[in-house]
Structures are given as structure tokens and as C-alpha cells.
Amino acid sequence: MSCKLDKILLQDLMEGTIDPVERIFVEEHLKTCTGCRRELTELKLLFWDLNNKVNYEIDMPEELDTIKDAVLKEVCEKNPRRTASVLMEQQRKTLKASGKFLEFVPGVKEGGNIIKEGAKAAPSAIGKASIGLLKGAKMLIAK
């Protein structure tokens, strides 16, 4: 007669994850069932072998060092920034380099300063001119 016990309970018993009530039931069952006692013995042997760390010992291949170099190369040498920002920066550098010669042209610096000052003074000059224009227009209308 085949045993009806759910065999997963025997694995739970081995793992210590079995419910206390089920444990009592299984232990009682084992007293009378030779098939399950045999199954439990096999499971004990299986768990012994499965948990034996020696069974998982392996040699570490030398290639692991080669992989380290390859991984570091891939990760460190690749520019992590986005392509757009790299292009923008390159463009800025190009523009800066293309105007570099201006720094060495005589008078450019002074000219630049004059333009700057002129630009600052521009609003007042425009103001004066517009007032003059307004006056002129009024005079023309009066005449």
C-alpha cells in the first residue's frame, strides 16, 4: 500500500520550516511507515551533500583578472556624460579657439573696452537724440 503523506512535509522537517502540529503528525507517521523513514534517510544524505561546501569548491580561472581589466576599461574609459553635453562643450572649445588670435591683435582689447563703454553710454545718447527729435518735430508743427 502506497503512503499518502505529502512528501514536501519531510523536506520541511529537514529544513526546520514545518508547522509544530504537522511535525507531531509526521513524527507519529514515521513510527509506522518504513517508506517514509527511508525517504527521510535519503533526504538526510541529500541535505548533507547539498550543504557540504566542499562540493561547490571550484578553481578560480586566471581569466578573471583579464575580465577585471576589460570591465574597468569599459566603465572607466567610456565618457559617462551624454553625447549632447559632450558636443556642446566641444563646440564651446572650438569657438574659443577660433577667436584666440584676437587676443594678440593690437588695439582689439582697447577697442573692446571702448565698445563696452559706448554700449553703456548708449541709452543716454539715444535719450538725448530722441528729445532733440521731439523738439524739432514740435517746432515744425508750430510753424
Binding site: L43, N51, K68, E74, C76
Partner: protein
């Protein structure tokens, strides 16, 4: 001297290259051993190891310094293993026979002559072969539970499945392995 993950991450902030090197040295055995027992072939295990570290290093900038790296390493390793599609390339098996009909493993000289070593080798080899034949999920569950000694809850987290499913994977896997080992006469029961 053992350097903690926190210290490694601090080093990484200052010197990226050195930090990554330390992480690699710390976890290479861990990752490779899981990959090897999962893939069963050195070349595949090395490929997986490489993929794991590239993925790990590329996402390291987002990692918070106060956490341990190990759960993350486990997650990436399990993920890469389960997603790894084995190439269909021909590999040489030690069980393959030569022209004379001898198995390759018998032809390759070995310094292990004692009977004990041979018996031990048999158990190890049979176990390895049996684990290798399991479906991917079951294989990974066995590796994490029995080789790495992880708890069911942790296995469920890294494999992204419910605990009940982990239990089922393990139950089926153990049943298969037990049947294989009995068939090969590993135990005198």
C-alpha cells in the same frame, strides 16, 4: 585587511578606478561561483561575471553609501544568470569519448589516485551534473539555498518570486537530484 563596503564606496568617490578594483576583488569569487554552478561552463560563467560587473559598475553612481553592496550584487548576479542565453556553440565535455572509445576524463592525467578522493570526486561530480540538468529557476534556488545558505525570504526577493514558489522550486529540485544520486549509486541505502 578587510575593507568594508562603506569604505570601498568612500574610496570610489575619491578614486573611481581604485574603488571599482576593490569591489571587483571583493566580489569576483562570489559572482563567479554562482555563475559557474548556474552555467556549468567556465566560458559562460566568465561572460556572466563580466556582465554582472559592468551592470554593477555602471549603476554605482546611484548607489547610496550607507547600504551594503552584497544584496545588490546578489540581485544583479541572479538576474544576469536567469537571463543568460547560452550560446549554441559546441563545448567539449569530459564525458565525450575519444576515437579509441575512452572518455576524455579518463585520458587526462590526474594526481588524485586514492579511492577516497575518487569517491568524493564522484559525489561532487554527480551533484554538479544533476544541478546542471535542472531547469534554470530550480537550479538557481538550489544554488542560493544550499551553496550560499540564503534564507527562503531572501531567495524570494532576489528571484522576484513568492516564498511559496521558492519552496516549490526547491522541493522539485531536491526530488530530481535525489533520484539522480540514487540512480548513480552514490549512497549505500
Amino acid at each position: 585587511m578587510e575593507v568594508s563596503d562603506i569604505n570601498i564606496l568612500k574610496i570610489y568617490k575619491k578614486d573611481k578606478h581604485q574603488g571599482l578594483e576593490l569591489i571587483y576583488e571583493r566580489y569576483k569569487k562570489y559572482v563567479y561561483s554562482i555563475a559557474f554552478h548556474y552555467a556549468g561552463v567556465k566560458e559562460d560563467a566568465l561572460d556572466i561575471t563580466q556582465e554582472v560587473f559592468i551592470a554593477l559598475f555602471k549603476s554605482l553612481d546611484n548607489f547610496k553609501e550607507e547600504y551594503s553592496l552584497i544584496p545588490w550584487v546578489k540581485k544583479i548576479t541572479v538576474n544576469k544568470c536567469l537571463n543568460f542565453i547560452r550560446d549554441k556553440k559546441e563545448t567539449i565535455s569530459l564525458n565525450q569519448t575519444t576515437e579509441d572509445g575512452d572518455e576524455l576524463q579518463g585520458v587526462i592525467p590526474s594526481d588524485e589516485n586514492t579511492e577516497n578522493k575518487a569517491l568524493f570526486k564522484d559525489t561532487k561530480k554527480s551533484l554538479e551534473n544533476s544541478i546542471r540538468k535542472l531547469p534554470g529557476d530550480e537550479r538557481m534556488a538550489v544554488i542560493l539555498r544550499h551553496m550560499k545558505g540564503m534564507k527562503y525570504e531572501d531567495i524570494a526577493k532576489v528571484m522576484k518570486v513568492p516564498i511559496g514558489t521558492v519552496k516549490t522550486f526547491l522541493y522539485r529540485a531536491r526530488k530530481t537530484i535525489k533520484a539522480d544520486l540514487i540512480m548513480e549509486g552514490i549512497w549505500e541505502v
